[in-house]
């Protein structure tokens, strides 16, 4: 029961962050929100009895994807200046 309620809360957080990632005008905020979606998703995976998947999602989905996004964004901004 406790797990179910925590999944419900985590799901709501994930959905709110996903909406922020899509509709926010500032692209930096959008990218950070997208990375946080990955982080909370990894907790959902852990509750669904999949620790292997949770580790992969935490390291790749929220860590490396965000870093790659920021590098590309930085290059685009440098190009602009």
């Amino acid at each position: 029961m406790l797990y179910t309620i925590s999944t419900l809360i985590l799901s709501l957080i994930v959905l709110v962050l996903a909406v922020i990632a899509i509709i926010h005008k500032n692209i930096t905020v959008a990218i950070i929100a997208m990375g946080t979606v990955g982080l909370f998703t990894s907790v959902i995976f852990l509750l669904l009895a999949a620790p292997d998947v949770a580790m992969t999602e935490a390291a790749i989905g929220s860590g490396l994807t965000t870093v790659i996004f920021f590098y590309v964004l930085n290059k685009i901004k440098n190009h602009d200046a």
Partner: protein, 238 residues
């Protein structure tokens, strides 16, 4: 207006597609037959305590080989794309100037990076006993690499070293797989080495060796991708 209507129609159509899936889904009460087979043969089939690892490396080893190839292709295509655009570097050179990294970040990096690398190696060596494995360990190693790159943007990596690590581990993975077929057990069979005691570090035949190679390869590839994407920046400041 027509466009918006079309988009709405696509979204509603997609939602309708999922409704039967959700209605007929009531959760599982027991394992499927395939999973049952893998679980019952955990000790004498693959010998790995982590059944996900047993499936990824042994039963579905060919898929993993394909996945590693796809990752390699991605890294090469990205490198190929961004190498060509280097001629445009000169015009960006004048404009931007990177902020100097803080003392705090540099000192913390010196302390943290060896620990992170060691943690990554720990994850992929223990892949057959605890959650984790080559892909997770490789990603953790790449994260340590990112930290190194953030603390010191001029940090130049020796491309040759990354290339050699990547090619050698990929080659060894394929050779170890082929060795199983040559001996007569089947491609990527893990019984080339003895299975050992179930649940110990040196067990499960060739699984820890292959997962270590995958970890090195994935770590080198992801570091290569990050390094290629950050390369222009490191040269701007000079």
């Amino acid at each position: 207006m027509l466009k918006k209507g079309l988009i709405l129609a696509i979204l509603i159509g997609f939602s309708l597609m999922f409704i039967p899936l959700i209605q007929n889904f009531h959760g599982n009460d027991k394992l499927s037959d395939l999973a049952k087979y893998y679980t019952e043969n955990a000790e004498h089939g693959a010998g790995a305590a982590n059944i996900v690892t047993a499936i990824v490396i042994t039963y579905r080893g060919l898929d993993t080989l394909g996945e590693v190839v796809i990752l390699f292709l991605t890294a090469s295509v990205i490198g190929f794309f961004l190498k060509i655009s280097k001629s445009e570097k000169d015009e960006t050179l004048r404009f931007s100037k990177l902020r100097k990294t803080s003392e705090l970040l540099e000192t913390a990096t010196k302390a943290l990076v060896p620990t992170i690398f060691m943690f990554g190696v720990y994850i992929f060596i223990n892949g057959h006993l605890t959650p984790g494995g080559g892909f997770q360990g490789g990603a953790v190693i790449a994260t340590g690499f990112v930290l190194m790159l953030l603390a010191n943007p001029q940090f130049k990596v020796n491309h040759k070293v990354i290339e050699y690590i990547e090619s050698l581990s990929g080659f060894s993975f394929a050779i170890l797989g082929a060795l199983g077929a040559i001996i007569g057990l089947g491609f990527l069979d893990n019984k080339i080495l003895p299975l050992g005691t179930f649940g110990e570090l040196l067990s499960a035949g060739i699984i820890p060796v292959i997962y270590s190679f995958i970890g090195l390869k994935v770590g080198a590839e992801l570091s290569g991708i990050v390094e290629t994407l950050s390369e222009n920046q490191s040269e701007i400041e000079i």
